[in-house]
């Protein structure tokens, strides 16, 4: 479509943000409580008996992983519900009949979902700072990675929302794929601690690269080099964008 329907994109964005604001307290309190719990358990109880990793105290070490874990989960669940719900209730007819292009719909939905994920990430970070020292070596890279990761996983969530035919499928991917991959992706340890072959196997887990890069932006060190992390992130983003483009071109699971 020619031009840009900025009124339409803005309307979708605001609509999606309003959906979050209706439950603002849950949205804010949940990450704060979850983060606090992790620090009581891992930072205080277990962390005090752990040696420093890469020269960073264990409590601080888990902060980047913790932030990403929450961000990934929220990105997937929020973005998938955002597009699945209109499909489920039938209100999608309006989006499909409106003069908004596929790209504009994605910008509106994914933009809003990613905004929420970034806000959640920052809230987690601030909560963590109450409990432990969190040095941030490269704040701009940290922010950029948080934003790009949120966008990438919101795109993935958007795809899941279009693919899903029921609510159980919506929770299937986050709980059976994303959460395990995050845990195994070095959120709470460095994969260099793993014996072979598990270390090599871990390298097939894309989330390893995200967590590693994110951790690099805090401590200047990661499991893999920052360049590799950034390339992995770019590839993931490109794949998600490609799939979304294909969905709208073909109308897959959207149009009869």
């Amino acid at each position: 479509m020619k031009g840009f329907n900025h009124h339409g994109v803005w309307a979708i964005y605001r609509f999606e943000m309003a959906r979050a604001l209706r439950t603002i307290w849950q949205s804010l309190v949940t990450p704060v409580v979850t983060t606090a719990l992790y620090f009581v358990v891992f930072g205080g109880a277990i962390g005090s008996r752990m040696q420093a990793l890469d020269g960073v105290s264990y409590g601080s070490f888990i902060v980047p992983g913790l932030i990403l874990m929450g961000t990934l989960q929220l990105s997937i669940s929020n973005a998938s519900l955002g597009i699945y719900f209109p499909k489920f209730t039938g209100t999608i007819y309006e989006l499909l009949s409106a003069p908004v292009s596929a790209m504009e719909i994605v910008v509106g939905f994914v933009g809003a979902a990613a905004t929420k994920s970034v806000v959640l990430g920052l809230i987690t970070l601030i909560t963590a700072m109450i409990f432990v020292d969190v040095p941030i070596a490269h704040p701009l890279v940290m922010l950029a990675m948080l934003v790009l990761t949120s966008i990438a996983f919101c795109l993935a969530g958007f795809i899941i929302g279009i693919w899903a035919k029921g609510f159980e499928q919506l929770s299937f991917i986050p709980s059976l794929i994303i959460t395990p991959l995050t845990f195994l992706g070095g959120a709470f340890y460095t994969i260099n601690m793993l014996p072979e072959p598990w270390r090599t196997v871990s390298l097939f887990n894309p989330i390893v690269y995200l967590i590693s890069g994110f951790r690099w932006s805090f401590f200047g060190k990661g499991d893999v080099s920052i360049e590799v992390s950034l390339i992995a992130l770019a590839v993931f983003l490109a794949v998600c964008l490609g799939v979304v483009g294909w969905i709208f071109r073909t109308g897959w699971r959207l149009k009869n």
Partner: protein, 313 residues
């Protein structure tokens, strides 16, 4: 005059293999009210959904005010407003918020005065700050209409606007349609009811089993459709119809218990009084009389037969 909407060679076969629309051609003039009349499953919603871009056609082209709906979707879609058949509306939103949302979604800057006017016109003003889930079904339908009108469309589609709606709301709906027409809005509505097509439309298209059987001015069509039947319940069953009754073309039903007379309700002389007199003269006693409109289904069968005859001739 150039039509505001033209549908050419549009057909649809769903993924299930079901052929919901055979080849449909249709032109709608600017400012007219067009009723698409057909029974359940005729393909009315499918046709509307294709025009509005919700369903992809298997073949054919659609032009909206000179814009091809596929090549220039933005220009085409901005002109169209759709009130769907199902009550699909975001339950957690307020009436005002969802109506404003629709306007912007269709690419228009906010215009609160206009939105307020739409809500007042639809008697939704008092409910503007209510959540939609708190509204009754009829009210929800009004919200859908407000949403469809929010961007000031030139063409409004109403898919069964009066389904599940009480008499007073139905009257309101008809009034609204007339008001919109006065403003120059083109309206295309679907209905199961001949009376509704008769009340509201300038032109009527009859669709059945995915086929647009005919498109005619209302007056001409009503003549064709305005057939009635009279059933005469006899006291004594009859084996054959006496020759004296030939001119009424009666049929025997119910194993000779009833006589059926089909007549044109709009004709000057229905032939009923003379028939009843004749029955009296012949000494044929009857215990009950019952007149009814021919059902939509009968009419379709009739139309198809008539068309086939015309084609054969």
């Amino acid at each position: 005059m150039q039509p505001i909407l033209s549908v050419r060679g549009v057909s649809k076969t769903y993924a299930s293999g079901h052929r919901a629309l055979k080849t449909v051609d249709l032109e709608i003039a600017k400012g007219e009210i067009f009723a698409l009349l057909g029974p359940n499953g005729a393909g009315k919603t499918t046709l509307i959904s294709i025009i509005c871009g919700i369903v992809t056609p298997s073949s054919g082209t659609i032009t909206v005010d000179g814009h091809d709906a596929i090549a220039e979707p933005r220009a085409a879609r901005m002109k169209i407003g759709l009130v769907p058949q199902e009550l699909s509306v975001d339950m957690f939103e307020t009436v005002l918020a969802t109506t404003r949302y629709s306007r912007r979604l269709f690419g228009r800057a906010g215009h609160d005065a206009y939105i307020d006017e739409v809500l007042r016109d639809l008697s939704l003003w008092d409910k503007r700050n209510s959540k939609i889930m708190e509204l009754s079904g009829g009210m929800k339908r009004r919200v859908l209409i407000a949403k469809a009108l929010a961007h000031e469309p030139d063409i409004l589609f109403l898919d069964e606007p009066t389904a599940g709606v009480d008499v007073s709301l139905r009257r309101d709906m008809w009034k609204l349609v007339k008001r919109l027409r006065e403003k120059g809005t083109t309206i295309i509505l679907t209905t199961h009811y001949i009376e509704e097509a008769e009340e509201m439309a300038d032109r009527v298209g009859v669709i059945n089993k995915g086929e647009l059987l005919l498109v005619e001015d209302k007056a001409a069509l009503m003549k064709k459709l305005g057939k009635r039947e009279m059933d005469i319940a006899l006291v004594e069953p009859m084996a054959t119809i006496p020759a004296e009754l030939d001119e009424w073309h009666l049929t025997l039903t119910d194993e000779g218990e009833r006589l059926r007379y089909t007549f044109d309700a709009q004709a000057e002389r229905t032939g009923i009084p003379s028939l009843l007199r004749k029955l009296g003269e012949l000494g044929i006693a009857f215990k009950d009389l019952d007149t009814s409109k021919s059902s939509l289904e009968d009419i379709f069968v009739d139309l198809v037969e008539r068309r086939d005859e015309e084609q054969a001739a």
